[in-house]
Point group: C2
Chain length 307, copies 2
């Protein structure tokens, strides 16, 4: 049974994501303390893959994942998952909501249900914890009255009962997760794929603009750009780019070779089916057929057969 | 002996250019009345090649050549020549300069020696002719006293004498000529080559900008751009582009396939050694080696061997 690492502890959204990302096959999930540790386990071959959080629609990118993907041997994403972030509130059986004076959770989770808490548990004081799962332990131990947790937490804390479920101040808050492996067999193109890369542009005027032109000139839709310091020196950045298409597509390969020539570093971070399954639209001038025709034309021109 | 067409009549700069363009081999030069006729003779296989004027440093592009290159079957340039445009003045033997009251030539030629004429032949009235060579005939016939001609004219009008030679108001006036053939064997790359193409961009916002970006992104130095109406409808243009490099160069081929996909029409008009023989500078990121490395990297990424 393949072993899959994830950011623990048990009973958090990252476990839930790892379960859904591996729903197609029986997997043994291994909790790690940090994203870095989970990715190192992949690189070392201790696990088959790792489920890691990439970005949250409210909180933004997850810097430790961005940095971890490019630090060390190559790893590539083979699947993505967009998980709605909606919480359950667990209490000890028989707890009267009006008597709840403390509510435990990770500060980000508390922030995302602030409105609900002030309406439904107005007397409750925050008890910040290292993870949503730890909050459930606090309630079991009696050091807090209520815990804001991921739905999966109940699996490990079944003595507690749900005071509320499916709550979130922002209705469509989501977190995007990736399943990351060592390079090997790439997912087949589906026509609705995303490619992720990280590049360090040369330190020249207009270099980033040229990087983006390599994509736009081939009609490649850039869906996301994040920058992170390279840590070499102030003002040097690594750009994480997500765009529509699969590395097997000619226009994507063409753009990637352009970036490889132009950048001091290019990391391929994976091509995988988009979570939303929306087909990628390709301009006629960037279609496989247009590339084939243009290559054929060039070949004839070079042989002096046409002009 | 190969037959070479040129824009006649005999004794003009175009004949002189045709002679220099074919200096490496014995050729029979055939005068044609128009550039169109000379190019049609190439297309029909009646002649091996044609010498045609492309642009003059004072007068600009030669529209009939631009239009002729793209009207009909493909033709490609295999050599270029930059000819200094300096004139001789022919008179009948024994003519006293102070008695010259009329001077014949093509209006463009008269315009290019206006200063010299007003200083040296202040009493002379213009007699416009269809070509510089015809002007010499007018002097022979006695219908004009002097003719402003190409140096080669004296070969056909040796009864006339040179009143002056090597004159020009603008010291470095030059005309660029091309030797044009049917597609076939292309000239070998020399490292100091020029490529000419004609493109019709799609009628979309930013289309011309994208055409130019295909070149600039690959570090290709555009040396010339001319537009001509496509004659289909007002506002539709064909662009004639000259840039450094040879179609056999990977970065040039890469740009050309991009243009072929993006444009409604692309004509290859030739790759040939530049008249100035100045080596083309290529950025490290656009070198043959950089292209090879990037293709190898992409191939490894696609096979899942690296990332």
């Amino acid at each position: 049974m393949p072993r899959i690492a994830y950011l623990g502890p048990q009973g958090t959204f990252t476990e839930q994501a790892a379960r859904e990302l591996t729903a197609d096959f029986a997997a043994e999930l291994i909790a790690h303390d940090t994203v870095h540790s989970a990715l190192e386990a992949v690189r070392a071959g201790e696990v088959e893959a790792a489920g890691v959080p990439m970005e949250n629609s409210v909180e933004g990118a997850v810097p430790s994942t961005l940095d971890g993907l490019v630090a060390g041997d190559p790893v590539v994403a083979v699947a993505e998952l967009v998980l709605p972030i909606r919480f359950d509130v667990l209490v000890r059986p028989g707890t009267d909501p009006s008597e709840v004076t403390s509510v435990a959770s990770h500060p980000h989770a508390l922030a995302q249900v602030r409105g609900w808490l002030s309406r439904e548990l107005p007397r409750a004081q925050d008890v910040p914890t290292a993870s949503t799962a730890t909050a459930a332990v606090e309630v079991e131990n009696g050091t807090a009255d209520a815990a804001v947790v991921a739905p999966v937490a109940h699996r490990y804390h079944s003595r507690l009962t749900r005071l509320a479920s499916d709550i979130a101040d922002v209705d469509d808050a989501v977190t995007r997760f990736l399943l990351v492996r060592r390079p090997g067999h790439l997912p087949e193109p589906t026509g609705a794929d995303r490619t992720s890369i990280a590049v360090v542009a040369h330190d020249e005027v207009g270099a980033l603009g040229e990087v983006l032109s390599e994509l736009s000139l081939r009609g490649i839709n850039l869906s996301r750009i994040e920058s992170r310091p390279t840590k070499d020196r102030l003002g040097a950045y690594r750009f994480f780019l997500d765009f529509d298409g699969h590395v097997a597509d000619t226009r994507i390969g063409d753009a990637l070779t352009g970036l490889h020539r132009r950048c001091s570093e290019v990391r391929f971070l994976g091509s995988f089916p988009k979570a939303d399954s929306k087909p990628v639209s390709v301009r006629a001038s960037d279609s496989e057929q247009a590339f084939r025709r243009s290559m054929r034309w060039l070949s004839e021109v070079r042989r002096g057969r046409t002009a």
